[in-house]
Amino acid sequence: MKCQTCLDQMAELADARLDEGKAAAVRAHIDGCPGCRREFESLSRTLEVLDTIPAAAPSHRLRARVMGDIETEKLALRHAGWASSIRAAADSRRGRRLPWGIPLLQALGACALVVLGFALGDRAATQRQLADLRSRVDTIGQLYEQSVLQKRAAGDRLETVLAAGATRSPDERVIGGLINSMAFDPSVNVRLNALNALYVHADQEVVRAGVLACLRREANPLVQVAMIDFLVAARERGAAPELRRLVVDAQTDVDVRESARRAIEQL
């Protein structure tokens, strides 16, 4: 074997990817050729050091973040299942189908439709559906909060919301993400900014229904007042029953109660 042939195949030998026949021939040449042996030893030594470089290990945060992503995606799948059944019930009551594609959008929209059904009649059956829906939304909220908390810092989530708000022509997924954040994000600041970002889409029924559904589970007075202002600005008359509930509920914050009272007058 010539030295050049040996040198051409040396890397494959060092990489242990040369078939046995060729490997034996190259090894035989190396054994008898001091120059090629030096070449092979330096190459082998280099790869040996390369192979023993300590592997960088990620922090425990990566696992928490990815597992949070997986849980969020699983939730979205589950939403798709139960939201479609509730939506079907709501659709049959209203006699039309809605073109929404985002699972949580469907859920929140269905919630609003159930409320509407509650206002129109069939109170006992709708009450049961509404209670069930509230329970599910609350459970989902807790799971969502856990996954979000694990996943990213509030500052990062706020950036995401602001970026979504700056999108000129947001699709259903972006709007669904904003409604998600407004409904379930543990940070008041993020929820408020998500609500602000939705103002320009207040003409969409699903957005108004989403804000109304979120108002029902919102506990922070500041966000509650902002949501009431939104519903008034959007002329959402379907909000009247929820506003009346806030007015008469003794647990309601005094500012929220006053804001709800004024909203009823304006609507």
């Binding site: 060092a14 280099t46 790869l47 050091v49 470089i53 990620p58 990566l62 973040r65 990815v66």
Partner: protein
């Protein structure tokens, strides 16, 4: 015949594609370490590598319906990783970035203290890696450190198997040359 062998990556990913998202957790456990190692060496930035690794798994979830039946899970994952790394650098510097340029950019982001001279073999070899041609470094990371087959490397780099083999071995020789050169350089 019933078997207790653990499911293949491909089988797990097919299950994910069919809606069994728990299987993504198993894929994460199997691959996040090597993937992170690859991204850390590619970017020279541990925090960025973690962010990109998360985005890779997010994209695997989001685009699970696009996973094909051809059984090349690892190639698919590293293909996504290259794209995510490319997106990362594009956001960091809003100019056109080709995946082939990633390594050069990684060099720029390495910390100053890491460039301090050291006689330690690992540090020298890391510097030798940094000095490699970007394409050479990438093929070396995939073939030698990630232990991917040349067929998998070829699928990731979108070249022929023969070209992947030639590039990998050329990269090994270049690394050896740089390593020897650094060993002879005086301490700076």
């Amino acid at each position: 015949m019933e078997t207790n062998a653990p499911p293949l990556d491909h089988e797990l990913m097919l299950a994910v594609r069919d809606g069994d998202l728990d299987c993504m957790g198993e894929l994460f456990e199997r691959h996040h370490g090597p993937l992170f190692g690859y991204l850390a060496k590619l970017t020279g930035d541990r925090a960025a590598a973690e962010d990109i690794a998360q985005v890779v798994f997010q994209r695997m979830l989001r685009y699970r319906h696009t996973y094909r039946d051809d059984g090349r899970f690892t190639a698919w994952m590293y293909h996504l990783a290259r794209r995510c790394a490319c997106d990362h650098f594009r956001r960091a510097a809003p100019i056109a970035v080709d995946p082939a340029e990633l390594e050069g950019r990684a060099d720029e982001s390495r910390r100053a203290d890491e460039s301090a001279a050291s006689r330690d073999d690992h540090a020298l070899l890391q510097r030798a890696l940094d000095r490699l041609d970007p394409g050479d470094r990438e093929v070396l990371l995939l073939s030698r450190l990630q232990e991917l087959s040349f067929a998998e490397v070829a699928a990731i780099l979108e070249c022929s198997v023969g070209a992947a083999r030639v590039r990998a071995h050329r990269a090994m020789r270049s690394l050896r040359d740089q390593f020897c050169r650094l060993q002879k350089e005086p301490l700076s």
